[in-house]
């Protein structure tokens, strides 16, 4: 079952062998940012989740970090 880990601590995820890793927005709010307006924050969250879906359908053979550009 392919799994994507959305995490700020990407080096830890790589170390333990998570294969699909998406960079999160922060330790205290992995999928958000209280400094943004609510609609911008939700757009940020959507970008991260879409990136996670992209990672899920991408074939990988080793721990790979997908950044949210």
């Amino acid at each position: 079952m392919p799994t994507v880990q959305v995490s700020t601590m990407t080096p830890v995820a790589v170390m333990v062998g998570a294969n699909r890793i998406v960079q999160a927005a922060g330790i205290i709010h992995p999928l958000g940012n209280a400094d943004l307006a609510p609609e911008d924050e939700k757009a940020l969250r959507r970008r991260i989740v879409e990136q996670a879906l992209h990672a899920l359908r991408t074939e990988v053979t080793r721990p790979t970090v997908f950044t949210t550009g």
Binding site: T8, M9, P11, V12, M15, A24, G26, I27, I28
Partner: protein
């Protein structure tokens, strides 16, 4: 040769050894006996509107006493040539140059009377085997218990408690007054590049000091570097004397580090001790552990750049603060140093919580292969029964008898900046 005029920093710690502390009608130091006017000191501390009642207790090494609800420990210091704890207690100004009074054998212990989450607070034992594990089991301790004034918020209260402890630390050190110190310790380091020819062969060594972790963002009053809450701090260079002389205070997340250890910084002392003989102490870079990936990466290469390019260091020691995640910030900075050819050692905590060596580390980065550890804070520890509990009236039933705890609960047993002699050994 042109004459350069940049001044070298020179800190004199003027130590008075204290062997006895007693309540008295006035605060002064008589021989090795520190007499403290507790009423006057209490009045001084209670003047803060954010605080309600203030209680002071004196506890002594060998007494069967457990101090509970420990928040932070401060070393008594008073500067003769500048502001005390500048930016937090005194006005913002440079520390680290000039004469500072210091008392050996005494510590100020601040307790936290507000939090319900007592699991995160620490204890100090004054007798028995657990006293021997911590520096504060063998100091005479002035314990401050201050309760919040009605309406004082959490951050206000903690800022007030810490300020009270700093005031008390200065008040006690001033008792040494004009008398001759028992010892004078001199910390003098010229501007980093000015290496005399006879020392030019020595490896240049820097220290990278992580002073806060933004796993827990700082409050507005949570001054850490010269009073700054280091919210957006990028790595920067400070003189080691500034750290020893009160420029850096611990934040309010008190996990396994005390301000006392920073004021007596063991890495800075170790590098000074070998300076000019086995190494050239190139300087200190202060950093914070970040809460987002871009900040963490940026901070890591900027810190490494300062170490390699500004300080021209050949080697660096790195320490971390806070919990698990800051290990990665430290290790990334170390890896960036290694990538620039700077050899590193890092000081880590054993993060395994079940004593398995496989779980000790939270990172594995190229070149970061020289690791020293400060033990496992999660390892169980039995606290022996005591006759009295100070600083935590509400916890007497839980704390006075034999208590199951962990090394991390015993304040001073594990000091992340490296003061500890506890080490996790792989067996």
């Amino acid at each position: 040769m042109p004459r350069y005029t940049t001044a070298a920093m020179r800190l004199e710690l003027r130590w008075s050894d204290v062997e006895e502390v007693a309540a008295a009608a006035a605060t002064w130091l008589v021989g090795a006996r520190l007499e403290v006017d507790l009423d006057a000191l209490r009045a001084l501390l209670a003047a803060d509107a954010r605080l309600g009642a203030v209680r002071l207790d004196l506890v002594h090494p060998g007494e069967r006493v457990r101090i509970g609800r420990v928040f932070d420990v401060i070393a008594p210091r008073a500067r003769l040539d500048g502001e005390d704890f500048p930016g937090v207690l005194g006005a913002v100004a440079r520390a680290g140059d000039g004469r500072t009074l210091a008392l050996a054998g005494v510590a100020v212990v601040a307790t936290d009377q507000q939090t319900d989450n007592v699991g995160t607070l620490a204890v100090i034992d004054m007798a028995g085997p657990t006293a021997a594990l911590s520096a504060f089991g063998s100091t005479h301790n002035l314990v401050i218990s201050a309760w919040p004034a009605p309406g004082a918020g959490r951050s206000d209260y903690l800022a007030a408690v810490r300020l009270a402890a700093l005031k008390a630390a200065v008040h006690l050190a001033r008792a040494a007054g004009e008398r001759e110190p028992d010892r004078v310790e001199v910390f003098a380091l010229p501007p980093s590049p000015r290496v005399p020819a006879e020392c030019a062969h020595l490896p240049r060594v820097a220290y990278v000091f992580q002073i806060h972790s933004h796993q827990r963002p700082t409050g507005l009053d949570e001054g850490i570097l010269y009073g700054d809450p280091v919210r957006r701090m990028l790595p920067t260079i400070v003189h080691p004397n500034e750290v020893l002389d009160g420029a850096v205070l611990r934040g309010f997340m008190g996990r396994s580090v005390t301000t006392w250890a920073i004021q007596n910084h063991p890495v800075i002392r170790a590098l000074y001790a070998r300076h000019g003989r086995a190494l050239w102490f190139a300087g200190v870079v202060v950093t914070v552990a970040q809460a987002t990936e871009p900040e963490r990466v940026r901070s890591a290469f900027l810190a490494a750049g300062l170490v390699a390019h500004a300080l021209g260091a050949d080697g660096a020691v790195l320490t971390k603060i806070g919990g698990g995640a800051p290990h990665v910030d430290m290790a990334q900075a170390a890896a960036q140093c290694e990538a620039l050819g700077v050899k590193t050692t890092v000081v880590v905590e054993d993060m395994s919580t079940d004593g398995s060596a496989e779980g000790m580390l939270l990172f594995d980065l190229p070149g970061v292969d020289a690791m020293v550890n400060v033990g496992s804070s999660q390892e169980p520890l039995t606290l022996p029964p005591m006759d009295r509990v100070v600083g935590a009236d509400d916890l007497v039933p839980r704390l006075q008898g034999q208590t199951r705890a962990t090394y991390g609960t015993l304040c001073g047993a594990i000091e992340q900046v490296g003061a500890t002699r506890v080490m996790a050994e792989v067996r």
